[in-house]
């Protein structure tokens, strides 16, 4: 233990940090696994009830170093910073406490000297409309990572349609969470490719405003106020709502509908009965160069059935660091355009960051060797 701690300390001192990833754990199980790695195999694991007592008190801080390598030989060094938002406190009731945690995590990233910071999962949701609440520092920039998330959701939809032999152009697309940055970005990118677009969100007034803005841009959408009714009409569904836990029920979904759950945390309730629906987890990318954690959190921080798969919101910062483009690529809400999506896709692909093989809660949906049909 002493040696490993000393070596990490040495690394922390000697390394220039290119990027930082701010994330949080989606479940208590995931949090327990992170603490188990930190505690080491020589110690008995912390009991689950003790973890729930201890974790909320941990101030945001780095958990490990992350080194990524590109397929064209570029390298970038980073930190994974956990905000330690307790998994059961992602709800709106804790918004002020959680924003404070993200701010503290951002301050940590700045102090560590990160040139670009990606905001993962709820960190991004909390901050996308509140960038002014982040600490200001000219040599550290922040990105929500939402543009690459949109890119991989769109690629995933195309991939799934190809796997299922569907024609996207004949589809009715329903976007749940359409008022968010990711939801509206997906709408802009996919609307020209499908027959009909239905948009849904909890806040109907805001939905009307977003729909009106999209229509002004030439994107034709219909407001789906009754999710139960409209979900039956859609044969392609993107779930991009900002939900604290997997609680979304789509109701009478169309038989054989393709459903992309793009939430972090996931949107769809495990109890959702959708017989025949083809569900996949969207917004995930895979690093085909290299990714190394120190200490080794492989499979703990990236809990996916395929290696080196990461949420695209975090990958965006890594891709930009590999490209040496330290700029706030995704900020605010409602600014994701097709052109920006193409641009970040090109940057990511140049460094070997591509759509991850598709999978869902039951496991892989395709042979990993046959993926990337739609890589740009």
């Amino acid at each position: 233990m002493g040696n490993s701690v000393a070596s990490v300390a040495n690394q922390a001192r000697s390394t220039d940090i290119d990027f930082a990833l701010i994330g949080h754990q989606e479940s208590w199980r995931a949090a327990a696994d992170v603490l188990a790695v930190l505690r080491g195999p020589q110690h008995t694991p912390i009991p689950d009830d003790e973890i729930k007592d201890i974790l909320p008190w941990i101030p945001p801080r780095a958990v490990c170093h992350v080194d990524v390598g590109s397929i064209v030989g570029a390298n970038a060094r980073g930190l994974y910073i956990d905000s330690f938002i307790p998994p059961d406190r992602l709800e709106a009731a804790y918004v002020h406490e959680n924003i404070a945690r993200v701010r503290a995590a951002a301050a940590y990233a700045i102090k560590a000297g990160a040139k670009i910071v990606s905001l993962g999962g709820f960190s991004s949701i909390l901050i996308e409309g509140n960038f002014d609440q982040l600490p200001q520092r000219h040599d550290t920039v922040f990105t929500t990572g939402n543009t690459l998330t949109v890119a991989f959701i769109v690629q995933g939809i195309k991939q799934m349609c190809a796997l299922e032999g569907r024609s996207l152009s004949k589809s009715t697309l329903l976007i749940v969470g359409a008022t968010g940055d990711v939801g509206s970005g997906c709408t802009r990118c996919l609307a020209p490719l499908v027959r009909r677009v239905l948009v849904s969100a909890r806040n109907v007034e805001r939905l009307r405003t977003v729909a009106s803005d999209l229509q002004a841009e030439g994107v034709q959408v219909e407001i789906a106020t009754d999710l139960q009714r409209f979900s039956a009409e859609a044969d392609v569904v993107i779930c991009a709502a900002s939900l604290a836990s997997p609680s979304l029920l789509l109701g009478r979904i169309a038989p054989d509908a393709i459903v992309c759950d793009a939430g972090y945390p996931k949107n769809l309730a495990p109890s959702a009965q959708m017989p025949g629906a083809k569900i996949f987890f969207g917004g995930l990318g895979q690093i085909t160069g290299s990714m190394k954690f120190a200490p080794d959190f492989d499979g703990i921080l990236n809990r996916h059935p395929f290696p080196d798969v990461v949420h695209a919101c975090l990958l965006e910062g890594m891709a930009l660091a590999l490209e040496r483009r330290f700029e706030p690529f995704s900020q605010g809400r409602g600014f994701i355009t097709q052109e920006r999506v193409k641009e970040i896709e090109r940057i990511a692909a140049r460094h070997g960051i591509n759509l991850a093989p598709l999978y869902n809660a039951d496991g892989p949906l395709e042979d990993a060797r046959h993926c990337h049909l739609f890589s740009p």
Binding site: M1, V5, A6, I54, W57, L79, Y94, A104
Partner: protein, 253 residues
């Protein structure tokens, strides 16, 4: 960063009648007095290894201050009709004193500051602050005042320790880690939700921890707040957060 779960009944006006909770405050005061007397002993010992007369005077002044804190806690016990007695020979406190005396034996001034100001004071500042928020009347005010004074001690030591770390960060961090294993392991056992090693020898009857809920406190909250304060203090020293996180997660629970 304070968990919302801990925000409950913070107004002294909401506190339960002192007559029913006096035995709980008696044990809380006994623990606090023991900590203060131990701190006074530590500073007195520290004065014996200081070369600079100003440092000697400083250490003796701190020792006097800690004795004053112990007296203030004893006086608060008197106000609520309980006699709070300290026991620096109680098993956990004795171990903490022995750890400090090893630093004295090595004439390691910096190690003494790390143990007293970073480790023991983190525990004191955090736990007194929590108690200060829920304890009624002058009892609460005394805990809050002493928490603030202890925090000033930490600030004073911080500049010396930062300068020391700037000279050789690796050597400094290794020293903190060695002391962490010794001192924080004992503190973690004291702060555990349940005393698994038997009676602590400070509480007057049975362990006070299960009764803390009756005064809007909990052992888990005091531990969480103390470890949070400790991590933040280590951050201020500049020790990498991923390193200190591993240290803390490896402590006994």
């Amino acid at each position: 960063m304070e968990p919302l779960a801990s925000v409950r009944g913070n107004s002294p006006m909401e506190c339960i009648s002192l007559s029913t909770t006096a035995p709980i405050w008696q044990d809380i005061l006994a623990q606090a007095m023991t900590g203060e007397i131990l701190a006074a002993m530590n500073y007195a010992s520290l004065s014996e290894i200081c070369d600079d007369p100003a440092e000697v005077a400083d250490a003796l002044e701190h020792a006097q201050g800690e004795r004053g804190h112990a007296a203030a806690f004893a006086a608060e016990g008197g106000k609520i009709g309980v006699g709070a007695t300290n026991n620096v020979d109680a098993k956990h406190w004795k171990r903490l004193r022995e750890a400090f005396l090893r630093c004295i034996a090595e004439r390691d001034f910096i190690a003494c500051l790390i143990v007293q100001e970073i480790m023991l004071e983190s525990f004191a500042v955090a736990s007194y602050s929590r108690v200060g928020k829920v304890a009624p009347g002058s009892l609460g005010k005394t805990f809050a005042r002493i928490a603030a004074e202890e925090e000033d001690h930490v600030d004073h030591a911080m500049s010396i320790l930062r300068a020391e770390r700037a000279r050789d960060a690796q050597r400094f961090d290794d020293k903190v880690y060695r002391l962490h294993l010794d001192v924080m392991t004992t503190l973690a056992r004291m702060l555990a939700r349940e005393c698994k090693d038997g009676h602590c020898e400070v509480c007057h009857h049975t362990c006070v921890k299960p009764a803390l809920f009756d005064v809007s406190l909990s052992a888990a909250e005091l531990r969480g707040a103390s470890l949070q304060q400790y991590l933040k203090t280590l951050d201020m020293l500049g020790i990498p957060g991923e390193v200190t996180l591993a240290w803390v997660t490896q402590l006994p629970v």
